[in-house]
């Protein structure tokens, strides 16, 4: 198509629309929309494209979602008295208090990339995790095999100990199912709720995707969830603060962290001052002392003491809900909420909220980001460039050829990969480079990240470190799409497709890591989809691949089916005929999704899919399609609101099928009053009356009275 359309567009003089209308009827093949000429003038060509372009609904910023999913993790390790302070305010612990504010940092964050160019981001965030949770969750990931074998018992153990980890497809599914059931109930019994719960647009899928990307599990092969920094905090209630800071530092080091975790992260010391109970002068002196001891990475956080504030308080602000909690945690929360009567909303005094916001912002901008920039620069200089340079190339090449030929045993000894624990030690150049690439990815320097992942790809392949290999492939593909330039169809076919393919293969058949494979595909799908054009087609192909993977349960499967349709929807056509659009494909996938929703008993979802699919099939002369459609409509209790409206609009253009479609609507109205909410009914009845008056008043009134 690419070769055909430009020539069409650049031709300066084309016959006016009216001239060729009569002859072009047979050339066109679309059923909907009044007949345009197949060759149109230049102006109308562009106007039409703009009109037809599908608009993205709000809250569908997929690139932003992916960017915000991969952000630095900051561990929190605090003294008991600090936790106590947070508990008095109605939080579980200090981490729980910081977490919502870390997810979206107020204001802009400036980051310098490896070229020294500064970019600002206003949607940056960090994740706070508890250091003990990190230590607790790491053990499960020692080897993939053991996890696969006793996955269920671990799940029980983890929920018991209060450590919530992401990375479980089933839990995500369960959660989405729960939300969906609630929405379904609401829709059946009352008006669709507005705003609060995720209602209908794309948001169930977005929720699914967000939960898949939430709380990335700790794993040796990627370092996104490894802590970049650690907050060490004490409160002013502490009797001998400096000593307890020291002991916190030591206990943090002595925690049984997984051995693939590098411990040279940044330490950030926080003194929490209790405004009401303690003297600020004393705290300031202490803070100065801290600065002297620990350097610049210190912060004095002034909080009001006292119990939990309620919403009726003067200066109370509601603490935002954490957006990136793991599915397990949200499930746990919903279940525990079911026993209580009302939703617990935690509030903080305004000054506290601002204080925390300022602290998080300062920590990110002044300490964490520069720390990461420094790490990137150092590793890039010392590790990556050595590997990239001529000697590095020779070294890796000689390693490959000579060791393989000399003896079998030495292959394993020459590489840093420990096959037993399936990981590289954190000090090895490979692990450091992966960390470098991940840091670069997290500060959104896609280009550098991509080049490092490229290098790592081959290294991991040589070492047969399959999970690392799959991870590097995945991130190489994703960072390449994110760079956003020169992503031609050739690059997509020759570079990205094999990378994604290999990554999935390695994840699935070599490591049986279905979660990672699914995540890899879904992220790639979203990123390709928003590029539109041919990339959207490929997005659909990958989505189909994810659908066929059978890693998900029925809910995920159906959500992805629907997403395939959405991938096709985004593709715009060119010209008045919308050539190159994927209207019919989108409709087919929506129809499939509608069928699948019916099977799992989600009628509202099914109806929503039908709403988008039906206009294409309305009046289709394919018998089986027609009967399938009628069957679905009947099963789902579908009300032809949307179709009806479009029909009415089309009737202005005038085509020959008015009579029979009117008949149909008459029948439909009877059934719809049984199912639809009040709003819908009144709307249709109102319109119905209007139309009846024009035609035959008696029968219409009868029906109206009946209903």
């Amino acid at each position: 198509m690419s070769s055909a359309f430009p020539s069409l567009r650049t031709r300066p003089t084309l016959p006016a629309p009216g001239v060729s209308r009569a002859t072009s009827v047979y050339l066109r093949s679309s059923t909907t929309a009044p007949v345009h000429s197949s060759v149109t003038s230049l102006n109308s060509l562009f106007n039409q494209t703009n009109l037809n372009s599908p608009r993205l609904p709000d809250g569908e910023d997929c690139k932003g979602l992916v960017c915000r999913a991969f952000v630095p993790h900051i561990a929190v390790h605090v003294s008991d008295d600090t936790n106590e302070l947070a508990r008095e305010k109605g939080f579980v612990d200090f981490k729980d208090m910081l977490r919502p504010y870390g997810e979206s940092i107020q204001g802009r964050i400036t980051i310098r990339d490896s070229q020294g160019i500064s970019t600002t981001h206003d949607d940056y965030g960090v994740r706070f995790v508890s250091l003990t949770d990190v230590a607790g969750s790491g053990e499960k990931w020692e080897s993939g095999a053991s996890r696969a074998m006793n996955g269920s018992s671990e799940k029980a153990a983890s929920s018991g100990s209060g450590v919530f980890q992401g990375g479980s497809v089933e839990e995500v599914e369960e959660l989405v199912n729960l939300h969906m059931e609630r929405a379904e109930e609401l829709n059946e019994t009352s008006l669709p709720s507005d705003g609060d719960t995720p209602t209908f647009n794309q948001s169930f899928y977005m929720l699914y995707l967000r939960r898949i990307l939430s709380a990335l599990p700790l794993s040796p092969h990627e370092t996104f969830s490894h802590p970049v920094a650690c907050v060490i905090a004490i409160s002013s209630r502490n009797a001998n603060p400096i000593d307890s800071l020291r002991s916190l530092y030591n206990s943090g080091n002595q925690l049984p962290l997984p051995n693939y975790l590098s411990t040279d992260y940044l330490r950030y010391y926080v003194l929490v001052h209790d405004e009401d109970r303690d003297d600020i002068k004393k705290s300031t002196i202490l803070f100065d002392q801290m600065k002297k001891h620990f350097g610049l990475h210190c912060h004095l956080l002034r909080l009001r003491s006292g119990g939990a504030s309620v919403i009726s308080d003067d200066d109370a602000v509601i603490v935002p809900k954490s957006q990136w909690v793991s599915a397990a945690e949200e499930l746990h929360e919903i279940r525990s909420r079911d026993y209580e009567d009302e939703q617990p909303t935690t509030c903080l005094p305004d000054s506290d909220a601002t204080g925390i916001q300022t602290m998080v912002r300062e920590m990110a901008q002044v300490s964490v980001i520069p720390f990461m920039e420094r790490c990137i620069a150092t590793w890039n200089d010392q590790v990556a460039s050595r590997r990239r340079g001529i000697s590095g190339r020779f070294l890796s090449m000689s390693k490959r050829y000579f060791t393989a030929s000399s003896s079998r045993n030495s292959t394993s000894s020459s590489s840093n990969y420990d096959a037993l624990s399936q990981s590289y030690p954190p000090s090895s150049p490979e692990a450091q480079m992966r960390k470098l690439a991940d840091y670069a990815f997290m500060v959104r320097d896609w280009r550098l990240a991509h080049s490092i992942y490229e290098l790592l790809r081959t290294d991991f392949n040589n070492d047969k470190a399959w999970k690392y290999h799959a991870g590097a492939q995945e991130m190489a593909a994703i960072s390449l799409i994110l760079t956003g330039t020169g992503l031609t169809s050739k690059v997509r076919a020759d570079t990205i497709a094999p990378m994604l393919d290999l990554s999935c293969y390695s994840y699935l058949s070599r490591c049986s890591a279905t979660y990672n494979a699914l995540r890899c595909l879904l992220v790639a799908v979203e990123l390709l989809r928003i590029r539109g054009g041919g990339a959207a087609d490929e997005a659909a192909t990958w989505a189909i691949r994810a659908r066929d993977m059978n890693a998900q349960g029925t809910i995920g499967h159906t959500l992805i089916t629907e997403r395939v349709g959405a991938c096709y929807t985004i593709r715009e056509g060119i010209g008045s005929g919308a050539w190159g659009a994927r209207k019919r494909k989108a409709a087919m996938w929506k129809m499939l999704a509608a069928g699948e929703w019916l099977e799992v008993g989600k009628l509202a979802q099914s109806r929503r899919c039908l709403d988008t699919a039906l206009p294409v099939y309305q009046g289709s002369r394919f018998l089986h399609i027609h009967s399938f459609m009628e069957h679905l409509k009947q099963q789902a209790g579908y009300t032809p609101l949307l179709v009806d409206l479009q029909d009415g609009r089309r009737r202005g253009g005038g085509d020959g099928e008015e009579e029979d479609s009117d008949e149909e609507e008459g029948v439909e109205i009877q059934s719809e009053t049984l199912h639809a909410g009040f709003k819908r009914k009144s709307l249709i009845v109102g319109r119905e009356v209007e139309r009846e008056v024009e035609n035959e008043a008696e029968s219409g009134l009868d029906r109206f009275v009946d209903s």
Partner: protein, 141 residues
């Protein structure tokens, strides 16, 4: 190996539909589609029109070979001069056999078009046409 063949008019309306099985390798020429597959066939063929409309501008020949694929099912297309599409759903690649089949059907269709009582986009109900298409299918597929 079963086939679903449809001639689709200018308004996405099916003019003629047929199902048949292979006659090669001892096949009896009977299609073996399950009931739910029937509607799926039509969906697949209908959705492949999107691709046909795109490919038709870039292909010099009227026979576009295999244009689309759904799971393991392939769709081949032949576009006539009057923008009528011959679509064949099949599950194995056989470009040449399908080309010959399409050429035969095109002859038959052109002859139908010569009928003074037939108008473009009208459903073809002629038993003779049906018989001859089946014959062509038996010969090539």
């Amino acid at each position: 190996m079963s086939f679903y063949f449809a001639i689709v008019g200018t308004k996405d309306n099916p003019i003629y539909e047929a199902e048949f099985g292979t006659s090669k390798q001892g096949g009896d020429g009977v299609a073996r589609f399950r009931e739910e597959q029937r509607s799926m066939n039509q969906f697949i063929v209908h959705s492949s029109l999107d691709i046909v409309e795109e490919v038709q501008w870039a292909t010099p020949t009227m026979y576009m070979k295999c244009v689309d694929k759904f799971n393991n099912l392939l769709v081949s297309c032949f576009l006539t001069a009057g923008n009528i599409k011959f679509l064949l759903l099949h599950d194995q690649k056989a470009d040449d056999a399908i080309r010959q089949f399409f050429t035969d059907v095109y002859d038959l269709y052109t002859k139908t078009l010569m009928n003074p009582f037939y108008e473009v986009d009208m459903r073809i109900t002629s038993g003779v046409f049906d018989g001859k298409v089946k014959q062509a299918a038996k010969k090539y597929l």
